[in-house]
């Protein structure tokens, strides 16, 4: 990718080598081969979720569920404790002689707060763990990358990988089902 005046010519620092595939099968088997060959700093880009691709590049566990659970527990506790504190000490009201700490009516708001906090945590943790919103990412320097949100599948082995060697990695990717292998500037 060294057209005159292009980004990669002006800033010739390499982000990685990108292989383009036409089918999910081609992508996933290339991911498996790359992982078996010892590459770790790599990422696959697909137009729809392919769980096997994430597994193949060695990303098997996400922390989103655990964080969501924590968020839910925090929400439930804060909902209940707020009601407990308001009704017993901050603003006690005697309604028909019922106990101040009358827990059954508190359950509904406790439940709603659990859902609210858990839901917000799920979305915020998904975005922040992924580093989104992210205004710039080098993979967009690939001239055909807009197809990744359409009908093509990409695998990028990054230059930061300790096993990365420009020529060898390129050869390795050419040996897969890739229809195109290109360098992408950082």
């Amino acid at each position: 990718m060294t057209e005159p005046g292009s980004h990669s010519e002006l800033f010739p620092v390499l982000h990685g080598v990108v292989a383009e595939f036409e089918t999910p099968d081609g992508l996933v088997s290339a991911c498996k081969k790359a992982h078996a060959a010892g590459y770790r700093r790599m990422d696959a880009y697909t137009p729809f979720p392919i769980e096997e691709a994430a597994d193949a590049i060695g990303y098997e566990k996400t922390q989103v569920p655990l964080l969501t659970l924590c968020g839910g527990i925090l929400g439930g506790l804060s909902g209940y404790l707020l009601q407990y504190w308001v009704n017993t000490s901050a603003y006690p009201m005697n309604i028909g002689g019922r106990p101040l700490h009358s827990w059954p009516p508190f359950i509904i708001i406790t439940f709603e707060m659990t859902i609210l906090f858990a839901g917000i945590t799920a979305v915020v943790s998904m975005l922040t763990l992924s580093g989104l919103p992210q205004p710039y990412h080098p993979i967009f320097n690939h001239p055909r990358f807009s197809a990744a949100s359409r009908d093509r599948f990409f695998l990028c082995i990054e230059a930061a990988d300790p096993k990365f060697d420009l020529d060898k990695t390129k050869q390795f990717l050419r040996a897969t089902d890739a229809i195109d292998v290109a360098e992408v500037a950082d």
Binding site: A44, T62, V86, M93, M113
Partner: protein, 470 residues
Amino acid sequence: MEQVPETKASATMERLLPGQSPVLTPGHTLETITDKIVSIVLRRPVTLGWLGGFAFFFGLLNMMLFAMAWLFYRGVGIWGINIPVGWGFAIVNFVWWVGIGHAGTLISAILLLLKQGWRNSINRFAEAMTLFAVACAGMFPLVHTGRPWLAYWLFPYPNTMGVWPQFRSPLLWDVFAVSTYATISALFWFVGLIPDLATFRDTAKNPVAKTIYGLLAMGWRGSARHWKRYESAYILLAGLATPLVLSVHTVVSFDFAISIIPGWHTTVFPPYFVAGAIYSGFAMVLVLAIPIRRFYGVEDMMTLRHLDNAAKVMLGTGLIVAYGYTMEAFYAYYSGNAYELFMFKNRALGPMAWAYWCLILFNILIPQVLWIRKVRLNPAMLFLASLVILFGMWLERFVIVVTSLHRDFLPSSWGMYVATRWDYAVFAGTLGLFFSAMFLFVRLMPMITIFEMRMLLPQSKLSEEVAAHD
């Protein structure tokens, strides 16, 4: 009537019963799906029909703004409410709109957990429908307070007055339930949109559109790691939204059931309100889907199969609602309570009897035509049946609110309720808000979830030897 496609091979390779339409008509590829949905927003010119429809509903919306300005100036006295009927159209409309929203969450969350592939093409606009319906609903509790500028007093916050809200009141539960519901629905909708907004960003040619969709897509690049977290968060949201949607209309029914008013104080209210909500919500889904699939030519993505399935859900929930009505009558008799018995007699034979019998006709008798397969596969008849159900469900809330209140325990406090033109103006205005928002939505956002439609294609599935773990 539309022709049922003869083919038995669906694009999604699912097994079909004889004569059943596929979820996605065969012949689509990753490219055609993307192009078709994107072109509705980015390539299609604005038509006169769209402009006319939008102008009409936007006019209604402006009428609502006018009616509300007058309401804020004069107070709730411009409405038909009085003592004893202190709850009029505002609560009727609130319950009706919240109920309509429920079908969107049901489609997007519950059907996702149940792995119903047919939800994929209707979930996006059903979620949008939920958001706009909740926006319409949320206005009524706000404006019916009389002093809407003090509505924030409903939220618990430390204040110089030293007072806190009453957490044992169902009206406060409503505040939490509806605001949580609105927040989670908006999150669910937006999270679903992110990958499709990235597709829009990558396809748009107009630099302004590209920038706006790009900002909204937040730099989404379809990374495998991101997708994994995304799927995880999405399924968690669905799992959270499922009990939430059931709880919201339960809490709405508590507004009635926790009180001691005859006709309201029954345990059947929560389940029968939830069923009624889904019933009216699916009717609204069909009222929107049938014209949309026709005018935007997406009959190959929203097929007769979707209409058929939605009609079956309506039939099922409609029967639960019928059970609720029967139980109300039974309770009145079996409770042995003179007030309950009188309430029911008054509801069926009193001055509001017309509303009760219309409701039985619209909500129970006419919808039985959905047993007939030909009706379920005929978009025009389904559209009419859905309109009837929507009107019937509105009448149901009207009957519940008004008949119980206008004949109280003491004959000396009996009254009558007649809605004024301001009641009608505000109600029609929320229809304007809802539909003008829907008009904008179909022209600005992908109304069908692109990435989930891609997953329906057989070429998107991995072959067995590749998928196998080694």
